[in-house]
């Protein structure tokens, strides 16, 4: 028990330290952290001071009891790292130095926490403000301490290198420094290394290679930030003294990354903006330097912080969401941020923001007038739908159509589109004869149902005396409310359906999508998600299959053991996060597969972990499952870009991804064999993945999932030229 605690403590602290290193480049990748750590030691004293400060900060953050996950991410400690690197660069080592370093790193943690908390309230990042303030304090105060002296090591850094690495290291470093590189290129490498307070081509090269592996978008943004800065300086003929490698690295290149692809989802627009912000940052550097140099202080990365915070703050003030999207969930990689954002958008996974409305009738009905319909859906009442039943010849009545009962929709049950409370009922308007019209009592017999605050649905022109519910009654989705009639402004029987924000009979309409419906097409019915049918379309509700609902209704605590030849047995447990997100947790590989089940569709939203586990296979096979056994409805979806892990053109696509995609992975699924609709018989689901690269399609995965007795029994996947049969033991 004790040993376990010690291990988890050590793991926590070491992760915090490593993440502090990668965080300097907006990353949380382990390999990249190790590389940055290594590079920081190319200047051993600086590296040592940085490491000591980070470790101190990590311990302080741990014992001060901040949120464990936040501490692990390195957010509280990277300022300490920067401060340590800075002090190691400026000061001579000695007892006084170490005492000051200790205090500085503690101060940086406190400041970080304060900045994170105060800026976090406005959804802004703390960036390196804590580091700047800490180092300023140190610089201003250190003049008064005799135990501390400014270092001259940086001037004679070759001596240091000789002391630590011998002649070989010197030769290597010299060889790098004397490489016949164009000034612009060597300048770039030096600028990159300047982020770690170095001016070293070798360090810059190593970091650049690391960046290339970490994020192609980030590296491209750094290069473009560098180029823009250089061009701007030449164009303006500005005071070149303030333009050193440090400013190029931290203030211009990092601004470009932060706004071009990290805090904003990378896109053509974000990149354009980031390029505009580079000159802004440049002006700030000069302006601030004019102020700070009077106290003998460098500006450090203050221009970077001000520019980024200002832009992010202003972007949040936009009235409409705008086309530039602030990163909704930070995955610490521009690629990851972009791909997950796009995938969520394409898959309409934001659907839980909407109240789930279904069509208010049974069977197939046709939209006779849609939104903005020219007849009566006009002005403030334009977002409404009229429904009728039509036969194959698009006739709404059987011969001769002179009586109301000749109309197919007349007297048909009208259902509640969602759970709610009956707010208002009008049931005294006589039904018109065919061709009649009652404009005085425009809406006729009507029911208004309250589903949530600000979401009401209204059904009108109902048949007099057909109401099955009373005012204030609680109705469930699909309950029969009344029958379709011909009252009010209705020359022929039809059903008027609208969503509104207020509870009145004559409230204005509100555009609101239906969660799911099936649209009849010539070839195959089409499943529509979060859409509104348009005039002339014939639509019906998705009829859920009880057995599929049961099989995919995974509840927290549910455990499943799965076996396959050539694989270790896995146990999956269904868990739920603090934010009510459900996921499978694979105990053996510690992998996570997040999913959503809204009663109509089951779909996986994200997968983290081992790509060779059985859970990953299940994630691919059951990426999206319509919980209906209608064999004619196919579901399609797109896999996130991560599905292309090992493609040779991956990096090229990453680079181009803010602009366009030439690689996509499509998912298709349908019911191959259905049950008897009453829960017995086995169901076979078939699904496949199709990779489309440069217009060429290739099937990359084929899967079959078998369900019987209300449970997932087995699935079979053809993947990477292998056939894997997986048996599930519930």
């Amino acid at each position: 028990m004790r040993k376990k605690t010690v291990i988890s403590f050590a793991e926590q602290v070491s992760t915090t330290v490593l993440n502090s290193y990668s965080m300097l480049f907006f990353s949380n990748r382990r390999f990249f952290a190790l590389l940055v750590l290594l590079v920081s030691f190319l200047n051993p004293y600086t590296g040592l001071a940085g490491f000591a400060a980070t470790a101190t900060a990590a311990l302080a953050a741990y014992f001060m009891g901040f949120g464990r996950d936040q501490v692990r991410s390195g957010l509280y400690t990277y300022s300490g790292l920067l401060a340590g690197l800075g002090m190691g660069t400026f000061y001579e080592f000695g007892t006084g130095f170490w005492i000051l370093l200790l205090l500085a790193s503690l101060l940086s943690v406190l400041l970080s926490a304060a900045f994170i908390a105060s800026l976090g309230r406005s959804k802004l990042p703390a960036l390196s403000l804590a580091f700047i303030l800490t180092l300023w304090v140190v610089i201003l105060a250190s003049g008064e301490f005799t135990a501390i002296g400014l270092s001259q090591r940086n001037i004679y850094w070759l001596n240091e290198m000789y002391a630590t690495g011998g002649t070989d290291l010197i030769r290597l470093a010299q060889w790098f420094d004397t490489l016949p590189l164009p000034a612009a290129v060597s300048g770039f490498f030096r600028s990159v290394s300047a982020i770690l307070f170095q001016s070293n081509i070798a360090a810059g090269m190593l970091l650049t290679i690391g960046l290339l592996f970490f994020s192609r978008i980030a590296l491209a943004l750094m290069i473009s930030g560098y180029v823009i800065a250089i061009l701007f300086i030449q164009l303006m003929g500005g005071y070149a003294g303030s333009v050193n490698y440090y400013n190029l690295g931290t203030n211009f290149m990092l601004v470009s990354v932060a706004l071009g692809g990290f805090y904003i989802v990378p896109s053509f627009r974000s990149i354009a903006w980031s390029l505009i912000t580079v000159p802004v940052s440049y002006i700030l550097v000069i302006a601030l330097w004019k102020i700070t140099y009077t106290w003998g202080l460098p500006v450090f990365s203050l221009p970077f912080c001000i520019t980024v915070i200002l832009f992010l703050y202003v972007l949040q003030l936009r009235q409409a969401g705008g086309k530039m999207v602030l990163t909704p969930v930070q995955y610490y990689s521009p690629e990851e941020n972009l791909y997950r954002y796009l995938n969520n958008r394409d898959r309409a996974l934001h659907s839980f923001y909407f109240h789930q409305l279904s069509l208010p009738f049974m069977g197939e009905w046709m939209v006779s007038q849609g939104y903005e319909g020219g007849l009566t859906h006009q002005g403030e009442w334009s977002r409404a739908l009229d429904f009728v039943i039509a036969d194959h010849e698009n006739k709404t009545y059987r011969f001769p159509g002179t009586r109301l009962s000749d109309y197919y929709c007349y007297d048909k049950p009208v259902l509640s589109p969602a759970d709610g409370t009956v707010e208002e009922i009008i049931d005294y308007v006589e039904d018109n004869p065919v061709g009649g019209n009652n404009t005085r009592q425009n809406w006729g017999n009507t029911i208004v149902i309250k589903h949530a605050e600000g979401i009401y649905s209204k059904l009108s022109h109902l048949k007099k005396g057909s109401f099955k519910v009373a005012r204030a009654a609680y109705v469930k989705k699909g309950d029969i409310l009344a029958a379709c009639g011909n009252s009010g402004r209705s020359p022929e029987p039809h059903l008027h359906f609208q969503v509104q924000a207020t509870p009145y009979i004559d409230s204005r309409t509100m555009a609101y999508p239906l969660a799911y419906y099936v649209q009849r097409e010539k070839s195959k019915p089409l499943l529509k998600t979060l859409a509104v049918p348009t005039e002339g379309q014939t639509v019906s509700n998705v009829i859920p299959g009880s057995q599929l609902q049961q099989a995919f209704g995974f509840q927290p605590g549910y455990c499943m053991r799965v076996k396959a030849d050539g694989y270790e047995e896995e146990e999956w447990e269904v868990r739920v996060s603090a934010y009510n997100e459900m996921y499978f947790y694979g105990h053996r590989h510690r992998d996570y597969a997040y999913f959503i089940n809204d009663g109509t569709v089951f779909c996986f939203t994200a997968y983290f972990g081992n790509q060779k586990s059985l859970l990953h296979l299940f994630y691919l096979a059951a990426y999206k499952v319509l919980l209906s056994t209608d064999k004619h409805i196919a579901v399609t979806d797109y896999f996130s870009r991560q599905a292309f892990r090992r493609h040779p053109l991956n990096w090229l696509q990453d680079l181009l991804s803010p602009f366009f995609f030439f690689m996509r992975m499509r998912y298709e699924g349908h019911v191959y064999q259905d049950d008897d609709g009453m829960g017995t018989g086995s169901i076979l689901l078939s699904s496949r993945a199709i990779a489309k690269t440069l217009g060429k399609e290739r099937q990359t995965m084929l899967a079959e999932t078998r369900i019987s007795q209300g449970k997932l029994q087995a699935f079979r996947v053809w993947w990477n030229n292998k056939k894997i049969e997986v048996v599930c033991v519930n």
Binding site: D391, P413, D675, T680
Partner: protein
């Protein structure tokens, strides 16, 4: 100017009473094409007599019946009654539309399997099922509808030898206010036999009680009878849920919806007296919704309609072989199709239309078939334009039961043609020939030599 058509002279009796102010003109229209395909073309191509089926009409009838039910009740499933017309092409149209299969014999069962219907979508009805048939059906997961106690015991006895627990329902007969009562099939509701059978099924532990079935009659003209049936089956369903703790998942109301054919001896023609499917649907579903089951436990409504879905889609094309005058003065027409092909003419007055132009003169006449048998009468009396040898007629509404109950008697069965939705014609059953008829016959050795 075209040459005038010759019509044999006829003498009509003067009727007393008021003159019809519209004259004596009949309401007949010649029927020269079916779904856009000329009758003459069909008969020249495929011979006479000829059965023609309209795929479009089949699909439309099915779709409108489905629409009538599915817009009123959330869980509805039709099962095509094989005995009504089990030509594979016809069955497959229904299966394509989503219909299951309802069979009443082992060979119909195999036919359904052959048509690609999965086992769990076949309903096995009928009073006589063999051990082997039951074994196959049970192992395929089909719904077995038990007709009597002996079958129940037979199935319980068999159950130990089966791979799967048989899924069963009982057929229930009851008084629905329509007479004569159909009490021959199934277990009676009123005398408690049905409840007893249900008790035995659940008590045996060897059968899975899946549903309840009834078939209250055929050509039912009153939706009220179905309401009674729903009430009584609903009562049994409640018993299953509350007393036997074995809720049923479906209620099968069988078939029996009438087509618009006119029954022999009825006063008014079928189209005026037969309620449309919508009326049955309204009566059945509104009663079903009032049974008191919650939204999740609502039973699936199964329907085994046959006649109403296919009768209108069938046509029999026939040629006039001869005309003669009977001793009582009536005109008689001999057609090349008789009751051997049109079994339903025993109880329907099928509408018949000429397939060519005619004058306004009409005459009462009898339509006989080609059989050398007294019973071969298609219509005892029908008012038709004057017909000559070689003229063609179209008999309407013959899609149900004729292509299953037809007889190979004196004459052989003709071609059956399907007109698809695009107007293409498909031969779906070839005319029989002598070789086909004799292929199963065996001649004993001593009868091989004939010395005449």
């Amino acid at each position: 100017m075209n040459k005038q058509v010759y019509e044999s002279p006829s003498i009509q009796k003067m009727n007393g009473g008021l003159m019809n102010k519209f004259g004596t003109r009949s309401s007949y229209e010649p029927v020269k094409q079916i779904d856009g395909v000329a009758v003459n073309f069909l008969m020249e191509q495929f011979g006479s007599p000829l059965f023609v089926l309209s795929e479009r009409t089949i699909r439309r009838s099915y779709q409108s019946a489905v629409r009538a039910f599915k817009t009123r009740y959330p869980k509805v499933q039709f099962a095509w009654s094989y005995k009504t017309n089990y030509l594979n092409a016809v069955c497959r149209i229904f299966h394509q539309e989503g219909s299951w299969a309802e069979v009443v014999s082992g060979f119909e069962y195999r036919k359904a399997v052959g048509n690609g219907v999965p086992g769990h979508k076949i309903i096995f009805n009928g009073p006589g099922k063999t051990d082997e048939e039951l074994r196959v059906a049970a192992n395929n997961g089909s719904l077995i509808h038990i007709d009597h106690f002996d079958e129940l015991y037979q199935l319980i006895a068999l159950s130990d030898t089966l791979d799967k627990k048989p899924k069963v329902a009982i057929r229930v007969n009851m008084d629905t206010g329509v007479y004569p009562l159909w009490d021959r099939f199934g277990f009676n509701y009123e005398n408690g036999q049905a409840a007893e059978a249900l008790g035995k099924i659940t008590a045996s532990g060897k059968l899975e009680l899946a549903g309840l079935h009834c078939h209250i009659g055929t050509y039912m003209l009153s939706p009220d009878a179905y309401v009674k049936a729903v009430e009584k089956l609903g009562d049994l369903a409640w018993k299953c849920k509350t007393e036997l703790n074995s809720p049923v998942r479906y209620i099968d109301l069988g078939g029996g919806f009438p087509s618009t054919n006119t029954l022999r001896g009825s006063f008014l023609p079928g189209p005026d007296t037969v309620p449309p499917v919508d009326e049955f649907a309204e009566a059945i579903t509104s009663r079903l919704l009032k049974l008191g089951f919650g939204a999740e436990e609502l039973p699936l409504l199964l329907l085994e309609s046959g006649r109403v879905l296919v009768d209108d889609a069938g046509f029999l094309l026939s040629t006039v072989l001869a005309g003669k005058r009977l001793p009582d003065g009536r005109r008689a027409i001999i057609l090349d199709a008789g009751v051997n092909l049109l079994f339903t003419s025993f109880w329907y007055d099928h509408p018949v239309s000429p397939a060519q132009d005619f004058t306004h003169h009409t005459e009462d006449m009898a339509l006989f078939g080609p059989l050398c048998m007294n019973i071969d009468v298609l219509r005892q009396g029908i008012n038709l334009p004057l017909l000559n040898r070689g003229d063609r007629v179209v008999v309407h509404k013959v899609g149900a039961y004729n292509m299953t109950q037809w007889m190979q008697f004196i004459q052989m069965r003709p071609n059956v043609v399907l007109i698809d939705e695009e107007g293409g014609t498909h031969l779906i059953r070839q005319a029989e020939d002598l070789a086909y008829l004799e292929q199963l016959e065996k001649t004993p050795e001593h009868l091989k030599e004939i010395n005449l």
